[in-house]
């Protein structure tokens, strides 16, 4: 609206009869500017709104004013497209004048405030009798005229501002209505801003808490064993926090106990129950009692305390150190798979999930592994979606296991998860394998043979980037390692083979735990390692930089002449941070 136009002109601030005059346009603008500024810089919204309401009462020379807000079942509703706005109520949060309406509630569409919000328009009620419902008191105070302006935001009205009765007895006018309409704008904006800031703070707090919960959960998972150990587990939460868990521990008699579990539902309460269930199941199995009794004990305990229909699916059991035999029991968990010589066998759970019914009995399985591997996986693995959005199911998991049947258990699990991730993970996913420990051979991540020619380098770099990306290496480190290997190849091409002879370069990338090795073999005349010297860095000469760069990037490198006076093996080593974001081995 055009406020200057709408308001009567100056001058008189006091009328002849002594009653205060209407505010002039410039006074109104000054008031609005001041109010807006006070609201904009305020950190304490409640105080500012109170002050603002007092200022409005003083400035507009009225007997009473009230400030209404729509009740705040709000935020959840606002996300819900089906929310019925009519069900919400306006509540008077603040009131100035002879009557205290604080706490009074109005349905939308009722009373002046309710109508202002319903119609998203300022209402002027110039003569009294129409509107006395909330503004009347025993001592005879009545509303002779009143104005109510909605507090407008981009998302619709959030409340209303109401003023009652001019002190000079003159009925409130359309001009007063326009002024109140203008005053309501910065107030609505300030409230809306404050709410957004509050929501943001809340989000940040939630994120911090989720992060804490995630770290707590991770700390509950057992540390990866570097020694020859028969059990390997891997857990990948679909979101920040997981409802899945696994555990293993050694008993005094040499047996190894293990647990894998899945909490029904998702979110923070599932995660909290996971923390409880994980410690409970560990506690219940520490005595080395039979797996069925172990589950029964945990079940009775969980039934005492678990509410809201949540339950826990789990498999618990023991194996010997050499993993010749595994004895286990399941509670509502997907069937445990034995994969041996290309053939699968199923061992379904012989009992219901934990935490539902006290006193139930659980059945056990006793399996001779005989060189096979036992796979226990949460239903997150079978729920993974394939390209067409369908769960891959038990058949899909079997196909994945069969496809990744060679290499160490860890390497297999990592490949399996990497493939699961390329499909769509919809739920927390956990897999545990049990098998006779094998002598740890380093895992071959990449094996290539290339002609010792500059044109081959580009493709080798691309292949290396792919391999290092699959490890989840940070891009800067990945690029430096690619550079180091490229420099090594360049040196072999230029100096080992040189212009006079040609041949191949064999490249292998190996991983042994956190140690990455890049092995480059050639068939060139043996190189004298003592003659390879890096140039000092920062030195502005155009030769010898390659070796200096390799020195910079890797932890160590060495060159070994091969036996028959021909051929060299160059090995670059780099220790990487364990890529352990979610307990990846």
């Amino acid at each position: 609206m055009n406020l200057a136009h709408a308001l009567p002109p100056p001058p008189a601030s006091v009328r002849a009869d002594g009653a205060p005059a209407r505010a002039s346009a410039s006074e109104a603008l000054a008031f609005l500017a001041e109010l807006s500024q006070a609201l904009a810089v305020s950190l304490d919204l409640r105080r500012t709104v109170t002050e603002s309401l007092h200022r409005v009462v003083d400035f507009m020379q009225v007997e009473a004013a009230a400030f209404f807000l729509l009740d705040d079942r709000g935020d959840a509703d606002r996300l819900d497209a089906d929310a019925v706005p009519a069900a919400r109520l306006l509540e008077c949060k603040l009131c100035i004048g002879p009557i205290d309406l604080t706490g009074t509630r109005l349905a939308i569409g009722h009373g002046a405030a309710g109508r202002a919000v319903a119609g998203d328009a300022t209402h002027l009620i110039a003569t009294a009798a129409e509107e006395t419902s909330i503004w009347h008191a025993a001592d005879g105070f009545v509303a002779r005229s009143l104005i109510c302006a909605p507090l407008r935001t981009a998302a619709g009205p959030i409340g209303a501002l109401e003023i009652v009765n001019r002190r000079d007895g003159v009925p409130l006018s359309a001009l007063d209505a326009e002024l109140l309409d203008a005053i309501s704008v910065p107030i609505a904006l300030a409230i809306s801003n404050a709410r957004q800031a509050q929501a943001l703070l809340e989000q940040q707090r939630m994120r911090r808490e989720f992060d804490l919960a995630r770290r707590l959960q991770k700390s509950l998972l057992p540390r990866r064993r570097r020694d020859a150990f028969p059990i390997v587990g891997l857990n990948r939460p679909a979101h920040e926090i997981s409802g899945d868990f696994y555990d293993y521990f050694e008993l005094a008699d040499g047996r190894i106990g293990f647990v894998i579990g899945d909490i029904s539902g998702k979110g923070l309460d599932a995660a909290l129950l996971m923390v409880r269930a994980a410690s409970l199941l560990r506690w219940a199995g520490k005595d080395g009692i039979a797996p069925a009794a172990w589950l029964a004990r945990a079940n009775d305990e969980l039934c005492e305390t678990t509410q809201d229909g949540r339950f826990v699916c789990a498999v618990v059991g023991y194996c010997d150190r050499a993993a010749r035999r595994v004895r286990f029991a399941g509670a509502g968990f997907p069937p445990v798979l034995l994969h041996r010589a290309g053939v699968f066998a199923d061992y379904p759970s012989e009992g219901p999930p934990l935490g539902i019914l006290r006193g139930v009995a659980f059945g056990e399985h006793d399996v001779e592994l005989d060189g096979g591997t036992l796979y226990a996986f949460s239903d997150g693995a079978t729920d993974v979606r394939d390209g067409s959005g369908k769960p891959i199911g038990s058949a899909g998991v079997r196909a994945l296991i069969a496809r990744h049947a060679t290499g160490s258990a860890e390497a297999r699990l990592r490949k399996l998860f990497s493939e699961l991730r390329h499909l769509r993970l919809v739920d927390d996913t956990t897999v545990l394998t049990i098998e006779a420990p094998r002598a740890d051979a380093p895992e071959v991540l990449l094996e290539r043979r290339l002609r010792a020619a500059p044109e081959e380098l580009r493709e080798i770099r691309a292949a290396l980037r792919g391999t290092l990306d699959a490890l989840g290496l940070e891009a800067g480190l990945r690029d430096r390692l690619v550079l180091a290997v490229d420099e090594a190849c360049t040196n072999i091409i230029r100096h080992a083979y040189g212009a006079s002879c040609s041949g191949d370069i064999g490249l292998r990338v190996l991983r042994d735990g956190a140690l990455l090795s890049f092995e480059l073999t050639d068939a060139a005349p043996c190189v004298d390692p003592s003659r390879i010297k890096p140039q000092p860095l920062g030195d502005c000469r155009s030769g010898g930089l390659g070796v200096a760069l390799i020195d910079q990037v890797v932890d160590e490198w060495r060159i070994e002449p091969m036996r028959e006076g021909r051929g060299n093996r160059l090995i670059l080593r780099k220790r990487i941070e364990t890529i352990d974001e979610t307990n990846e081995p």
Partner: protein, 112 residues
């Protein structure tokens, strides 16, 4: 596998010569890069090498730039690297050469 082409282009600009490189500079064509840089310097005007589209550079590529830098210095000429990509900058830093070369954000700054 399909890679974007490696290209080197020389542009005569007002008061300077701009050599534009793109792709991955390695042993397979760093000799060509070296030639282009030295040819541009031979004109006797300031030279800028635009590296914004270079996604990889190895020591042989760096060597070509170092040679250009030295050549310019010998003849009191100006030789600057223009709009250095992150990939190139990382290698320059690794080689401690990021403070040796003159790096400028855009070709406008080739003529100081």
């Amino acid at each position: 596998m399909n890679f974007p082409l490696n290209t080197v282009a020389k542009e005569d600009r007002e008061g300077y010569v701009l050599v534009r490189l793109s792709g991955e500079v390695d042993l397979s064509w760093s000799a060509e890069v070296r030639r282009a840089v030295l040819d541009a310097l031979a004109i006797g005007r300031p030279v800028g090498v635009d590296l914004s589209a270079v996604s990889y550079i190895d020591s042989s590529g760096i060597a070509a730039l170092v040679e250009g830098f030295q050549n310019a210095r010998t003849h009191s000429g100006r030789f600057v690297l223009v709009a250095v990509s992150d990939a190139v900058r990382a290698v320059l830093e690794l080689a401690r050469l990021d403070r040796v070369f003159v790096l400028v954000a855009s070709a406008d700054a080739v003529v100081a």
